[in-house]
Symmetry: C2
Subunit: 160 residues, 2 copies
Amino acid sequence: MNCEIERKYLVASETWRDAVTSTRRLRDGLLARFEEGKVRVRVAGPVATITIKGPRTGLSRAEYEYEIPRLDAEEILNTLCHPPLVEKTRHYIPHDGLTWVVDVYEGTLDGLVLAEVELEREDQTFALPSWVGREVTGDPRFSKGSLAKQFLPDPKLRSA
Amino acid sequence: MNCEIERKYLVASETWRDAVTSTRRLRDGLLARFEEGKVRVRVAGPVATITIKGPRTGLSRAEYEYEIPRLDAEEILNTLCHPPLVEKTRHYIPHDGLTWVVDVYEGTLDGLVLAEVELEREDQTFALPSWVGREVTGDPRFSKGSLAKQFLPDPKLRSA
C-alpha cells in the first residue's frame, strides 16, 4: 500500500508551461465505488493501471496500484466503466525538489486546469510555484469523483 | 479478458473426496460492486489476485484477473472489503477431461458444499460425475453475491 497525500490548486497563470519536462495523455474510468473508496482504471500513454483508493482521512488515503495489460484496460474503459471517461493531458513540472502535475482537462471539462503535488507527510512544508493559485484540496467540487461526473465547476471557480 | 462460463451444482454424496487431486484454502472479499459487475480480492494459498467480473449474459461473464502482492491483498481484505469475508476450502477433481472444483464453506456458511465446472463454450456437453446433484447455475440463492452476504440457503436446498 502507498499512502497518497496530495494537495490540489487552481492555476493562476500560464507560466507553468515554460517549466514542463514531460507530458502524458491520460484516459481515466471509474469502474466501481465502495463506501468512500473507488476502483479506477487508467491508460497513461503505453502504461495501464488499476488503482484502488481507500477512504480519505485528512489529506491522506490508502492507494494500491497495479499495472495491467493495456488491451485489457482499454476493454474495461470501453465496456465496464461508467461513461463519460475523463480525458486530460498531464504535464510534469519539477519545482524545489517536488514534482508538480498540471492536468489540462478535455471534452466537457475543457477549460479546467488543476495543479497537484504529492507529499510524503501531511505536515510537509514546500515552496509554492509562482503560477499556483487558490488551494482546492478537499473541495468536493474539484474531487475526481465530481469531475468524473463531468461536473464543471462554475467558471469563476476556475480562476485562482 | 477471459470469458468465464461455469455451471454450478449441489453435491449428492461424499464420494468426490476420493478423487481430489489438490486442495487450496481461499479467502475472498467483495471490494466493490458496479451495475451487475463486481471487484473481488482473493488470497488462495500463497497467491493473491484482484478480479473484475462483468455483467452476466447467459452462462458467461467477462472476467479480468491479475495477481497482486499477497501482503496488499491481506490489507485490502482486512481494511477495505465488506465483512464478512467468505472462507472456504477448494478441492480440485479431474473428471472426463474437465477439472471440477468442490468448495466447502466455513464460518456462518458451514455445511454448504458446491461443485462447479468451468466450460469453454456455453453449449459444451460434458459428463456429470456420479456425486453431482441438482444444478443451481443461475439460482440467485447460490450466487457468490448472496453467499458473500452469508445468506445461508434453506437446509433442504443444500441436499441434492
